[in-house]
């Protein structure tokens, strides 16, 4: 990978600082309602942006990507654990790929 070490420094360095600096330096709570709300929604917004539409292309085949998304979505809706949802999404995608190979 070209530029691996520079990239690693930026990736790991920024991740570390964004965790450690507030932990070490902030002594007061954030009271501002807008900022609190904004920060509250960030994880959901990040994961939604990362998942859609990348999830349907993740297997390299849109059909199995959509099947995996649907099955994973159903298991997530049923409050199954992270590991279980991940496993069933992969299993469904694999099943779909294997079925497609038969034809």
């Amino acid at each position: 990978m070209p530029d691996f070490w520079i990239y690693l420094l930026i990736l790991a360095g920024s991740t570390y600082l964004i965790r450690a600096v507030p932990f070490a330096c902030v002594k007061n709570t954030i009271e501002n309602r807008f900022i609190r709300s904004f920060l509250y929604y960030i994880p959901f917004a990040v994961l939604a942006s990362m998942t859609f539409p990348a999830v349907i292309y993740s297997t390299g085949n849109i059909a199995s990507g959509i099947v995996g998304l649907l099955v994973g979505g159903i298991f997530a809706f049923l409050n199954k654990s992270l590991t279980l949802v991940a496993l069933f999404a992969s299993g469904a995608a694999l099943a779909c790929e294997l079925i497609l190979m038969l034809f």
């Binding site: 990978m1 530029d3 691996f4 520079i6 990239y7 690693l8 930026i10 990736l11 790991a12 991740t15 570390y16 964004i18 965790r19 450690a20 507030p22 932990f23 070490a24 002594k27 709570t29 009271e31 807008f34 709300s37 904004f38 920060l39 509250y40 929604y41 960030i42 994880p43 959901f44 917004a45 990040v46 994961l47 939604a48 942006s49 990362m50 998942t51 539409p53 990348a54 999830v55 297997t59 390299g60 085949n61 990507g65 995996g68 998304l69 994973g72 979505g73 298991f75 997530a76 809706f77 992270l82 590991t83 949802v85 991940a86 496993l87 999404a89 992969s90 694999l94 790929e97 294997l98």
Partner: protein, 236 residues
């Protein structure tokens, strides 16, 4: 030592979960052309799922340093909130260099477990972080080893696993909260626009993820401001 062991025990389920998720990170890294040791080093020194996944996506194109920085800051902004939140709950012994060292381990799950404590001791937090860190690093290594040996069709299927985990994080809260659901829908639709529309399509994914995240969260904060004090528990 007792506190450390108590933390170690509390970290077992997180460690196991990380083992399986980072396994798929290892596989994805291999499939994108990284070597096994590069993937393992990334996991060992970064310890985050979404950030690393976006990170390796940026790394495959040389020279996108600013994109890397902006995308990491946006994706990881939530950690600063968790750090601020947890800084309110630590014991008086938990200060100075201990905060600088242990702040490294502030992940979503470690934060969630730690913030259930009445008062977080440094030894407990170190114990709590130990197995998740080992699980995350070891899982990446296993993923790169086994990923190289697996048939391509299985490897391709496993690449969806990390997105399955993201679904498991965002869907249950979206069932309970309409505002969370709307924020998810806004960010997801917006990012689809960046994927498919001309011109927008040219923007690197590290930047577009940041833009869609910030817009979704700002609209959420404007239209559905939340009451303070009870939000941390449901945080992903």
């Amino acid at each position: 030592m007792k506190l450390y062991l108590k933390g170690l025990r509390a970290g077992i389920p997180i460690g196991l979960g990380y083992l399986s998720v980072s396994f798929t990170f290892g596989i994805m890294a291999i499939s994108m052309g990284f070597s096994w040791w590069e993937a393992v080093i990334i996991s060992a020194v970064t310890l985050t799922s979404a950030g690393q996944l976006a990170g390796i996506g940026v790394m495959v194109v040389p020279g996108q340093y600013l994109t890397m920085l902006i995308s990491q800051l946006t994706i990881n902004m939530r950690y600063s909130f968790m750090s601020v939140s947890l800084s309110q709950k630590v014991s008086p012994k938990f200060k100075g260099i201990k905060r600088w060292l242990l702040g490294f381990f502030m992940t979503d799950e470690i934060f969630a477990v730690a913030s259930n404590e009445d008062e977080v001791e440094p030894k407990f937090f170190l114990g709590l972080s130990t197995l998740p860190w080992i699980g995350w690093t070891l899982g990446t290594l296993l993923g790169t080893i086994i990923g190289n040996a697996l048939p391509p069709v299985i490897m391709a299927s496993l690449c969806i696993a990390i997105y399955g985990m993201f679904l498991a994080i965002i869907i249950p809260p979206a069932k309970k909260s309409k505002s969370v659901l709307i924020v998810i829908a806004i960010s997801a639709l917006l990012h689809c626009c960046f994927y498919y529309l001309p011109l927008l399509r040219e923007i690197p994914s590290g930047i577009s993820i940041s833009v869609c995240t910030i817009i979704g969260a700002i609209l959420g904060a404007i239209f559905f401001p939340i009451d303070s004090s009870k939000e941390e528990k449901t945080n992903a």
